[in-house]
C-alpha cells in the first residue's frame, strides 16, 4: 500500500460558464478515478456534482472525459496514469452541461423513442418462442450495451455538429436498429416496417463515416462499427443501391 498525492483538474460550473479547478488529492492503491472524485466530495467539495451508480462498470452512469478521452470513471484505474501526471476530468462535451460533471443526456432518450420497438410475431404465444443460440448471438452482443452514451458523446457527427442532432440517431441507436433487424423473431417487416430502409431514411445512417470512435470508446467492447453499423449499411445497400432492385422500383413507379 502506497498512497500519494495526485494533481487533478476538474471542470466545475454550469450552463452559464465554468472552468477547470485544481485539486491536490490523496490516491491509494487500486483506486479508480471515481474513488478520487468521491474523495473530493467527502473532503473538499461536498457539492461537486457527479453521476454514478454501481461503480462496477455495469450501469453506465459515470461517463466523463478523462484527459480528453470519453471513459467510465469507475473503470479507469489510477495506475494507468503517471504519479506526476495532471489528470483532467471534464463532463461529456457532446451534450449540454447541467452542473460540474453532469450533463443533460436527454438527446439519447429522445432518440431511443424514435426507434420502433420489437414487433412480436403473430400467432406465437408466450412460451412458444424458439430461437437458436447462433441466431441470437449477434443481437445479444448489442444488448450488452449499458447505455453509458460514450459512443454518442465521441461520435463527431453530433459532437462537432450540433445541427446534426435532429437527423442522426447516433451509434447506440443505430445499433439498436441493427439489433432488431437481426432479431430472429422480429416481425416488423410483416407489418410493413423496413428497418434497413428507415436506418438510412430516418435515423441518419448515412451520416456515419465509420471512423470507429464509437467502437474505440465502448467500455463493453462491443464491435459497434464492424458488427452493427457496417452490416446495417450493407443491408441498406441491399435495399437501396442494388441496381436491379432500383430499376425494378423505377419501372414499378412509372407503371403506376
Amino acid at each position: 500500500m502506497s498512497g500519494y498525492t495526485a494533481h487533478f483538474k476538474v471542470w466545475r460550473g454550469d450552463v452559464g460558464g465554468g472552468g477547470l479547478e485544481d485539486f491536490k488529492v490523496e490516491v491509494n492503491d487500486g483506486e479508480v478515478v471515481l474513488d478520487i472524485i468521491h474523495r473530493l466530495q467527502a473532503t473538499q467539495t461536498p457539492d461537486l456534482a457527479v453521476r454514478w451508480n454501481c461503480k462496477a462498470g455495469k450501469c453506465g452512469s459515470c461517463s466523463a472525459e478523462i484527459n480528453g478521452r470519453p471513459r467510465l470513471m469507475c473503470m479507469t484505474r489510477m495506475s494507468v496514469f503517471d504519479r506526476d501526471e495532471t489528470i483532467t476530468v471534464t463532463p461529456l462535451r457532446a451534450f449540454p452541461v447541467v452542473r460540474d460533471l453532469v450533463t443533460d443526456v436527454g438527446f439519447n432518450y429522445t432518440k431511443a423513442r424514435e426507434v420502433p420497438s420489437f414487433v412480436p410475431p403473430e400467432g406465437v404465444g408466450p412460451g412458444e418462442y424458439r430461437m437458436m443460440q447462433e441466431d441470437v448471438d449477434r443481437s445479444q452482443e448489442f444488448r450488452k450495451c449499458i447505455e453509458c452514451f460514450l459512443c454518442q458523446d465521441t461520435c463527431h457527427v453530433v459532437r462537432d455538429h450540433e445541427e446534426n442532432k435532429p437527423a442522426f440517431a447516433g451509434p447506440r441507436f443505430l445499433m439498436r436498429v441493427a439489433e432488431l433487424d437481426m432479431h430472429p423473431l422480429d416481425a416488423a417487416a410483416e407489418g410493413g416496417l423496413d428497418r434497413k430502409k428507415t436506418a438510412q431514411d430516418e435515423h441518419g445512417l448515412g451520416y456515419c463515416n465509420i471512423t470507429k470512435c464509437c467502437t474505440e470508446v465502448c467500455p463493453e467492447g462491443i464491435k459497434i462499427t464492424d458488427n452493427a453499423l457496417i452490416p446495417l449499411k450493407e443491408r441498406a445497400v441491399d435495399r437501396k443501391y442494388d441496381p436491379l432492385v432500383w430499376l425494378g422500383s423505377k419501372i414499378g413507379r412509372r407503371a403506376r
Partner: protein
C-alpha cells in the same frame, strides 16, 4: 427531469453555448496525432509510387512475371506476354499506359473499402482527426449525399476485386515457369507473387461486403449452416481487415517493384530450380 430536451440548433460543435465551457478543441494528452499522421504518410507514399508506376508504361513485364499493376493488360500497346493476361479488348486507340484501364478496379475497391474510408477520413480529411478531437469543418453531411453517397457501391467493386484477384492468381501460376515459359520452375519472384496473392485474397475475402454477402444478410443462421460457417470464417478474417489492407497494399507495391527491378535489369531474379 423530463426525458426529452430539444437540440440546440446553433452550430459550434464542442464550443456550442450549452455545453461545458472549455475553450480548447480537445484535452487529450496522448500522441493522438500519430495514427492519422502515419496513415496519411503511408497512403501518400503509395499514391506517389503507384502514380509513377501506373503512368510509366514500361518495365512491367519480365518473363514470367507481370506486374500486378498491369494485369490483365487490355490494350493493343501491351507488351506481349506468352500465355499471359493479354486481352486486347481496347484497341490501338488507347494511347496511354494500359495500367490505367485496370487500376480503376482495385483503386475503386480500396477507395470505397470500409477500412480505407476510416483511414483517409481521419488521415486526410480530419473528420475527425482522432476520437474526441474536434474536427475543423463547419458543416458535415457524412455519406448522405453526392459524392460520398457513392461509397455505397463498394459491393460492386468487391465483385470486380474478386475478378482481379482471380487474374492475379493466374499470374502467380504463370510465375511457376522460367523465362523460356517452361513449367515447373521457381524463382524469388514466384515467392514474392505467392505472398502477394495470398494477402490480396485475404484482404478481398475479409471485406465487409463479402461478410455480408456470404451470410451477414441472413436473419436465421440456423437454417443455413454452411453459410453460417462461412460467415464465421470471414468474420475472423474481417477482424484483421485493417492489417490485411496495409499488408496487401505493401505487398502489391513490392511485387510491382520487384518486376520493375527485374525488367529494368537492375536486379537478376534468383532462380531456385
Amino acid at each position: 427531469m423530463a426525458t426529452g430536451t430539444e437540440p440546440h440548433l446553433n452550430s459550434g460543435g464542442v464550443r456550442t453555448g450549452t455545453r461545458a465551457a472549455i475553450a480548447v478543441p480537445h484535452l487529450r494528452t496522448d500522441r493522438w496525432w500519430l495514427a492519422p499522421a502515419g496513415t496519411a504518410a503511408g497512403l501518400l507514399a503509395f499514391i506517389v509510387y503507384s502514380t509513377w508506376r501506373a503512368f510509366a508504361d514500361a518495365h512491367y513485364y519480365a518473363a514470367p512475371y507481370v506486374s500486378p499493376f498491369y494485369s490483365p493488360c487490355l490494350a493493343e500497346r501491351c507488351e506481349p506476354m506468352h500465355a499471359g493476361p493479354n486481352w486486347e479488348i481496347f484497341g490501338s486507340w488507347w494511347g496511354i499506359s494500359p495500367a490505367i484501364i485496370i487500376l480503376i478496379f482495385p483503386l475503386g475497391f480500396r477507395l470505397t473499402c470500409y477500412y480505407y474510408r476510416k483511414a483517409y477520413y481521419r488521415g486526410f480529411w480530419a473528420s475527425p482527426p482522432a476520437c474526441a478531437v474536434a474536427e475543423p469543418h463547419q458543416k458535415y453531411s457524412g455519406e448522405t449525399r453526392f459524392p460520398l453517397i457513392l461509397q455505397n457501391i463498394h459491393r460492386y467493386f468487391f465483385y470486380a476485386a474478386i475478378l482481379v484477384a482471380c487474374i492475379l492468381s493466374y499470374d502467380t501460376v504463370l510465375a511457376f515457369r522460367d523465362e523460356n515459359y517452361a513449367w515447373g520452375h521457381m524463382g524469388l519472384g514466384t515467392v514474392v507473387f505467392l505472398i502477394n496473392i495470398a494477402l490480396i485474397w485475404a484482404y478481398t475475402i475479409s471485406c465487409h461486403s463479402c461478410r455480408h454477402i456470404v451470410g451477414g444478410k441472413l436473419k436465421h443462421f440456423s437454417k443455413h449452416p454452411v453459410r453460417y460457417r462461412m460467415w464465421q470464417w470471414v468474420g475472423k478474417l474481417n477482424a484483421r481487415h485493417a492489417q490485411l489492407a496495409w499488408a496487401s497494399l505493401v505487398s502489391v507495391a513490392l511485387a510491382d517493384f520487384y518486376v520493375y527491378l527485374v525488367a529494368s535489369g537492375a536486379f537478376d531474379d534468383p532462380r531456385f530450380f
